[in-house]
Symmetry: C2
Subunit: 144 residues, 2 copies
DNA sequence: CAGTATCCTTAGGGATACTG
DNA sequence: CAGTATCCCTAAGGATACTG
């Protein structure tokens, strides 16, 4: 086949670009991770765990739902509850996220960069303290 | 340990955030991938392969160099040449990038989304056509 | 509890032109 | 060949307030 004069990567059709748009946006790894840890969770629990605003959380959850990584279930109760959980596709991402975290963790260690302790607990790089994991609070305390 | 009243994730110290900043920015996976494919490469070759402007390429290469993923070598010749290649750390990222690509590729297939052919060749999802791989051109032709 | 609605800011990228 | 220099623009996030 002759090399023709119009060859170039079309980024909009590239898987890298897709994954960056769908997964690697600011808060999404954290949101996905939280749902992996908690299995089922809800809006205000995310808000307690992450320093994210309601608006941005809402946007991100909608996008994740649209991209098929998350299911939102409304339970007709009084007052109605809303549950969020990972889809199979969302769950299929967790091993990859773990490896991404691990790569970053190792590099940050090599560079002596400070690493967030709560994240380390979530990922098993630091002994989990159940009360902290179960009762996350809005403000942050320094850990050893 | 008592749950104290100030617990929260500090995103600036989190590995996810680090990796998103250092690796998963728009063009960086492509740039890294190109350097894995080519072993040694140079500025204008990137420009031929990717639909990126010189300014943005320059910015990205500088950042990658600063973050220790890429080495830049100037060879005092006439005119002087500049070579770019991956560091060990950069190379350690390739398996991860491959998995990211693979995850995205599979999802896009499931969703019947169009997938860029040149990327597929680079990643071995499509038979490599050496002339195209070796002589990438600026504009794009549709592949079957 | 589970969100909307507004307003504002900024980093990152794109376009284009120029340089040694 | 290997970049700088400008100008511009928009998407994504942050702050704050309000709702059923």
């Amino acid at each position: 086949m002759e090399p023709t004069n119009d060859m170039i990567l079309d980024i909009r059709k590239d898987p890298y670009n897709y994954v960056m748009r769908v997964v690697f946006c600011r808060w999404k790894p954290f949101i996905l991770q939280a749902m992996d840890t908690d299995e089922v969770t809800n809006f205000s629990r995310f808000i307690k765990q992450l320093p994210i605003t309601q608006k941005v959380l809402s946007q991100n959850l909608k996008a994740l739902e649209q991209d098929g990584l998350v299911v939102r279930t409304v339970i007709p109760d009084t007052p109605p509850r809303t549950e969020y959980r990972l889809t199979d596709r969302g769950r299929s991402l967790i091993p990859l996220l773990d490896q991404v975290y691990a790569w970053g963790w190792n590099v940050m260690k090599e560079e002596n960069m400070p690493i967030d302790a709560l994240g380390e607990m979530w990922h098993g790089y630091r002994k989990k303290e159940d009360d902290l994991m179960l009762h996350p609070y809005k403000k942050r305390r320094e850990l050893p």
